[in-house]
């Protein structure tokens, strides 16, 4: 049954469409235009000049930051996925239904606490006189420099995406057909081997999507690299804020932002392709 476009239908569908076109699509399109503008004497002028692209792409600082961000985000995805998996697995397979509901509820709570506040809180754990070093000193160790290191940045990334990754992994694990696991056991596949031969392949889509989200979040995050990593090494997000602050170089910041979006799109495309590989619709 095909209905003609009606006032009724448009009343519900149009508002969001208009809003997102006006305030989501247009800003991103404007970012593209902005990247071709020029800056003279701290004033931006509409223009069509590739100077921002050539300048940014010609700088080693940019490519260093790009490589750093890519490596950090990739490492964060792998680390978070690996650390989250046993937790998601245990919640999915070893807890009762009631405990599992509680586990999910508790994992949702972090989404409603300020990420910034949690990062600040990590500072009190990691600083030279912080909680961890005090505890270590009781057993005669340390102090260790933990704040303003790449390790601290990683803890920040974990704080950012661990709950989301656990939840996404969990949702793909609980939907695994239990008879597949029984069937594997029944064919001489032991516990650990079943995890690799059956559980992970069955949950692949969810696991890859979870890792992808971790990558996206870490790739664009600037709170952890600044407040836990001490701004060193420079990531793209730090480079964006620095660029905007220094001499109204918004067009150059736009170049960085667009490069980031492009990279994320490629990564997302590859990840989704891999996640759904061999699945007919």
């Amino acid at each position: 049954m095909r209905r003609p476009i009606s006032l009724y239908g448009l009343t519900f569908s149009l508002p969001l469409l208009i809003w997102q076109v006006l305030f989501f699509v247009f800003p991103l399109v404007f970012l593209v235009a902005l990247s071709f503008w020029t800056v003279k004497n701290f004033v931006m002028r509409p223009d069509f000049d590739t100077v921002n692209w050539t300048t940014m792409y010609g700088r080693t600082v940019f490519w260093q930051a790009y490589g750093t961000t890519l490596a950090l985000a990739a490492a964060a995805s792998v680390l978070t996925s690996v650390l989250a998996f046993p937790a998601a697995y245990a919640v999915a397979f070893k807890l009762s239904d009631t405990s599992r509901r509680w586990a999910v509820f508790l994992m949702v709570i972090p989404f409603f606490t300020s990420y910034l506040v949690r990062v600040y809180s990590w500072q009190t754990f990691l600083s030279d006189n912080g909680i961890i070093n005090v505890i270590l000193s009781w057993i005669g160790l340390g102090p260790f420099v933990m704040l303003n290191t790449v390790g601290a940045t990683m803890i920040g990334y974990l704080t950012l995406s661990f709950p989301l990754v656990v939840l996404l992994q969990l949702f793909s694990l609980v939907f695994i057909d239990r008879t597949l696991i029984e069937a594997a056991h029944n064919m001489r596949c032991g516990r650990l081997r079943t995890v690799f031969e059956v559980v992970i392949p069955s949950a692949r889509t969810g696991l890859v999507i979870a890792a992808l989200f971790c990558f996206i979040l870490s790739f664009g995050d600037f709170v952890s690299p600044v407040y836990l990593g001490g701004g060193e090494p420079t990531t793209l997000s730090i480079l964006i804020t620095d660029t905007t602050k220094s001499g109204q170089q918004w067009p150059r910041a736009a170049v960085i932002a667009l490069t980031m979006i492009g990279t994320l799109m490629v990564v997302a495309f590859v990840a989704v392709k891999f996640a759904y590989k061999g699945k007919s619709k």
Binding site: T179, L180, H185, N186, R188, C189, R193, P201, S280
Partner: protein
């Protein structure tokens, strides 16, 4: 335990919390037989199979495989491959990889694995689908993959949990003969759980009928069909007319008869061991029950009224009602039926020879 026993259940009980799924099982499975375990849903048949597969632990009792107790063996240390109702084929592996799975788990080398999988793909006539995904197969093809996957290790026993329930009627019949032939050719012991009488009776050498966690009867399909041991079995099979009454000495002074609300019937029991005066149940197969317009002499007869008829293929089922409202059925060929010239509402006599009656002693 005899030499040809492969599996024995000895006092096996299974409860889930307060719910007792299996009351107390004592039975044996013979080497090389096709055993069907039949019952309605919730009777404990699947739990029994899962205990044998090592997917459930018995609460009490011992299960032996080739004489050795296997209660404590995890499922992956037993050789009791199973075919699931859902088939449980791995969707992330193709047909060949599914079939090779069990061999891979046993550490069989790649070339050997491939060779043996090839054999079974060929035997199950699915070689052409070897590289396909499971989702691209039809129901019947999936069935064959599941069988190949379990049989590729050439086990001594194969467990099947209602594997045909998802197929349409025609395919079901075809797969039944595939299964039966496979079992005969390989000599592998099949334990087949089903709720379908036609599946159990057409394939199995012996049938176990379960109800509420108990075994009601074990026997060949013939035995169970002709001489149901309990009222439950007779009702469950639904192929007999059943009368309940009291046993007493025959009115002619000799023999035994049963007195029911619709009449007294002679029984053919030369060596009766049932105590007289007790209640008992008489069953008469609907194929052995006859119809006539006049009361036949020398046979057990019940006055009935015809209430309906149903034609399925070459036979018809005539539905009758006794004076006290009990339903009876008679199976007749079309030819015979035409000669009887029946119409609905007519009064008739249903009758049978006394040797066609079968007595179930009351429990």
């Amino acid at each position: 335990m005899s030499r040809d026993t492969l599996v024995s259940f000895e006092g096996v009980v299974k409860s889930f919390g307060n719910f007792v799924a299996v009351q107390r099982l004592d039975f044996e499975i013979k080497k090389g037989e096709f055993l069907a375990i039949m019952g309605s849903s919730g009777c404990g048949k699947t739990t029994t199979l899962r205990m044998l597969a090592g997917l459930e632990a018995p609460t009490e009792g011992v299960i032996r495989l080739s004489g050795k107790p296997i209660n404590d063996l995890p499922t992956w240390s037993r050789d009791t491959p199973m075919v699931w109702q859902s088939l449980a084929l791995f969707p992330f592996l193709n047909v060949r990889e599914n079939v090779e799975f069990a061999l891979k788990m046993r550490g069989v080398g790649k070339a050997e694995r491939r060779r043996r999988a090839e054999q079974w793909l060929d035997r199950m006539q699915i070689t052409e689908f070897a590289e396909r995904n499971i989702s691209q197969l039809s129901g019947g093809q999936r069935q064959r993959v599941a069988l190949a996957r379990s049989l590729v290790v050439e086990p001594e026993i194969l467990l099947l949990d209602e594997p045909l329930s998802a197929l349409d009627a025609a395919l079901k019949v075809r797969m039944q003969s595939v299964l039966k032939n496979l079992q005969r050719e390989t000599g592998i012991t099949f334990v087949y759980v089903t709720h379908s009488q036609s599946e159990a009776f057409s394939m199995a050498d012996r049938v176990v009928i379960m109800s509420r966690g108990n075994i009601e009867q074990i026997g060949t399909p013939q035995e169970i069909y002709r001489t149901p041991k309990t009222r439950f079995v007779a009702d469950f099979l639904g192929s007999s007319n059943v009368f309940t009454g009291t046993l007493q000495r025959g009115s002619a002074g000799s023999g035994i008869e049963i007195s029911t609300s619709v009449g007294r019937f002679d029984l053919d029991l030369p060596n009766n061991s049932n105590p007289l005066g007790q209640s008992a149940t008489l069953t008469v197969l609907d194929t052995k029950t006859q119809l006539s317009h006049t009361r036949p002499a020398g046979a057990n007869a019940v006055p009935v009224r015809m209430i309906g008829e149903e034609f399925v293929g070459a036979t018809a089922t005539i539905y009758l009602e006794t004076s006290d409202g009990q339903e009876m059925r008679v199976q007749k060929g079309h030819q015979e039926l035409a000669e009887l010239d029946l119409e609905i509402g007519q009064s008739l006599f249903a009758w049978w020879r006394k040797e066609d009656g079968h007595l179930i002693a009351s429990s």
